[in-house]
């Protein structure tokens, strides 16, 4: 395999990974505060939908290349809207967090498609957005072998995701906010007794996860599909959830997990370029990313420790 192929593979890996990274960051923030977020899939769906719709309208209204950014913004906003449902249910009404997450997935899938049908006269898909993101070469950096092509010639969303990894990492481990957030997920009553507003913290975290997962979904609409339909988001949210756990609830870990998964996906395309690939049943090639993920987990990572209070509703005087 030559250097150019490797760079191209990496580049493709980033395309796959970007949305996963963003959604996984959302998952981390929420779960670090103690709220299980199995609704990432739904939040991404909401984000992708809002992005496709609003970018389309922005483009029609003549916003040009600002349209995908408007889409991203709308995606984040819509993600928050659905995250709010999750927050109210799990934090205020102490509903089971897994149940609520599954519900988010259901409602997001149903309502976005319903809205598409209302907004696009019965069509099951939004109209194609022409003004989507394009890869941006970063001067000089893009000349570095392998990672130049692999990373520094990527979508703005990829750069955004990587920057957000840094920001979330910093926020979690260096700021007062992060310290408090983590304490709320580990030992909410400890946080409570030092005057931290546990419920408010958790609301913030879940809403932020809506922003990030919404952005993740929007990324897919604004880079790969240009439209939204029932299968724009089909399983990425769950892969992102896996990345959260795989990455041990750490932004850098999740970045690694998401990249690994993206890379495994791109391997199977490269494989098909070789003549010997016709000897391998294509099904085995499709399986590859999933099998590799399991193998890595078995070989390297082992047990990961979730935040101690993950999944437990909190109320004062809880015993």
């Amino acid at each position: 395999m030559d250097v150019a192929t490797l760079g191209n593979m990496l580049n493709t890996a980033f395309v796959f990974s970007t949305a996963l990274i963003l959604a996984a960051l959302g998952g981390i923030i929420s779960e670090r505060s103690g709220i299980v977020n199995i609704g990432l899939e739904g939040l991404m769906t909401a984000g992708a939908f809002a992005a496709a719709v609003s970018a389309f309208h922005a483009q029609e209204a003549g916003y040009g290349s600002a349209s995908p950014w408007i889409g991203m913004f709308a995606g984040a906003l819509f993600g928050v809207l659905f995250a709010l449902i999750h927050a109210v249910a799990t934090i205020t009404f102490r509903a089971d967090q897994v149940v609520s997450g599954i519900v988010i997935n259901f409602i997001a899938a149903g309502s976005t498609l319903y809205l598409v049908k209302l907004l696009f006269e019965g069509a099951g898909e939004t109209s194609l957005v022409d003004e989507v993101f394009h890869k941006v070469k970063i001067p000089f950096l893009s000349d570095i072998p392998i990672i130049g092509e692999g990373l520094f010639n990527s979508y703005p969303t990829t750069y955004l995701a990587l920057i957000l990894v840094g920001i979330v990492y910093y926020a979690l481990y260096k700021t007062p906010f992060g310290l408090r957030l983590r304490s709320v997920g580990e030992h909410p009553s400890a946080a409570d007794t030092v005057g931290i507003k546990v419920l408010r913290m958790r609301y913030t975290a879940v809403l932020l996860s809506g922003v990030l997962a919404g952005l993740g979904g929007a990324t897919i609409a604004m880079t790969t599909t240009g439209t939204f339909s029932h299968n724009t988001i089909s399983g990425q949210g769950f892969i992102a959830l896996a990345a959260v756990i795989f990455g041990k609830w750490n932004p850098l870990g999740a970045l690694g997990a998401a990249l690994f998964f993206g890379f495994a996906q791109s391997i199977n395309n490269v494989l098909q370029l070789f003549d010997f690939s016709s000897q391998i049943p294509s099904e085995f090639i499709y399986m590859l990313p999933y099998v590799l993920t399991i193998l890595i987990l078995v070989g390297a990572v082992g047990r990961s420790k979730a935040p101690s209070a993950l999944g437990e509703p909190y109320f004062q005087g809880k015993r």
């Binding site: 150019a4 192929t5 191209n8 593979m9 580049n11 493709t12 395309v15 796959f16 069509a123 099951g124 898909e125 194609l128 022409d130 989507v132 394009h134 890869k135 897919i220 790969t224 599909t225 240009g226 439209t227 339909s229 029932h230 299968n231 724009t232 089909s234 996906q265 791109s266 395309n269 490269v270 098909q272 370029l273 016709s278 294509s282 099904e283 499709y286």
Partner: protein
């Protein structure tokens, strides 16, 4: 509806090649006579799990029915299948509601149509892309390999890098026909060109299509023919992106004239598969009392049911199009037999 009987009897042996009688009547009928009887008739279709907006045969079929409604005043309706169990129940919904003709759209409908037909001998059914041998079913299949051969000719003559790609959905007989015909067409005009085959394993994953296209283009190919439904959107997106970055690459679309949706910058041509036309015409025959019951119609180049769209002239040179015509004639005349499977 009685005169269907002799036609049904005639096609006892459902040969894959089109029965001449069927194609003759197809070309004869489309006089839009919105007589009173048509207004009382009800036509329906059931989609496969792709849904009615799949940008592929389901959508095309629905467009055919919608045109029928406009032209004849007949009422039309569709039901989408969420999962495979719904094929039969959806078809039965129409059959039991005494629809005059119910279409099963797509390859996968075959068992459901067969079952419904056997249990409701008085009803009329039709299927696209597959064959059901029953006296009350009209089957319409396409010689995709013939059309694919022609776009193969275009690709073989257009490529500058002698590298060409094919992106398929899943490896099933229909899609295989596209692949085999395409590869044969390329080989006929440019034996040096290499065709990279990539089946993505899905008809609905644009991200997989995009990644597949990226790796094929990165490998030096300059043309990709896709037969992958929604997955193919990813192929177009990848090409558009490269175009905007200043690299000229081509996509050959499928089923419909995809230049209309994805623009002329990247769409070299498309391999038309006129499902809408077929649905429209067979339904018209039904109105005219000439439903091809029990007949298997294979629509190919000679029926103008597969082929290249008019818009091809924008990006394909006159010489190449002339070559295409040449090959088309040879296929119709039988001088060339396009393979259907490897």
């Amino acid at each position: 509806a009685k005169n269907n009987n002799n036609e049904g009897g005639a096609s006892g042996s459902a040969s894959p090649s089109a029965s001449p009688s069927a194609s003759a009547s197809v070309s004869a009928s489309p006089s839009a006579s919105s007589d009173a009887s048509a207004k009382d008739m009800k036509f329906a279709m059931v989609t496969d799990v792709g849904g009615v907006n799949d940008k592929s045969f389901n959508q095309s079929a629905w467009e055919g029915l919608q045109r029928l409604e406009k032209d004849t005043g007949a009422s039309v309706k569709y039901l989408e299948s969420k999962e495979a169990t719904n094929y039969l129940t959806n078809i039965n919904q129409f059959v039991r509601d005494k629809y005059d003709l119910t279409w099963g759209i797509g390859f996968l409908m075959v068992d459901a149509i067969k079952d419904a037909a056997a249990k409701n001998p008085d009803s009329k059914l039709a299927i696209i892309d597959n064959v059901v041998e029953a006296p009350n079913v009209a089957s319409v299949t396409f010689a995709e390999n013939e059309g694919a051969y022609l776009v193969g000719v275009v690709a073989g003559l257009t490529t500058k890098t002698n590298k060409i790609g094919f992106v398929g959905g899943i490896d099933i007989p229909v899609i295989k026909r596209f692949e085999v015909g395409f590869v044969a067409g390329v080989a006929a005009v440019n034996p040096d060109a290499k065709v990279t085959i990539n089946y993505t394993g899905a008809f609905d994953k644009a991200d997989l299509g995009k990644a597949a296209a990226a790796s094929i283009y990165n490998d030096g190919a300059d043309i990709i023919f896709h037969a992958a439904g929604g997955t193919g959107n990813g192929v177009f997106n990848e090409a558009k992106e490269r175009f905007k970055a200043g690299k000229k690459v081509w996509v050959i679309g499928v089923d419909k004239d995809q230049s209309l949706e994805f623009g002329d910058d990247v769409t070299l041509t498309s391999m038309l598969k006129e499902v809408d036309e077929a649905v429209y015409r067979v339904s018209q025959e039904m109105i005219a009392g000439k439903f091809p019951a029990g007949v298997v119609t294979t629509l190919g180049l000679k029926d103008n049911a597969v082929g290249l769209p008019e818009t091809s002239t924008k990006n394909v040179s006159k010489e190449i199009l002339d070559k295409v015509e040449e090959y088309k004639a040879k296929i119709i005349s039988g001088e060339i037999t396009v393979p259907t499977a490897q």
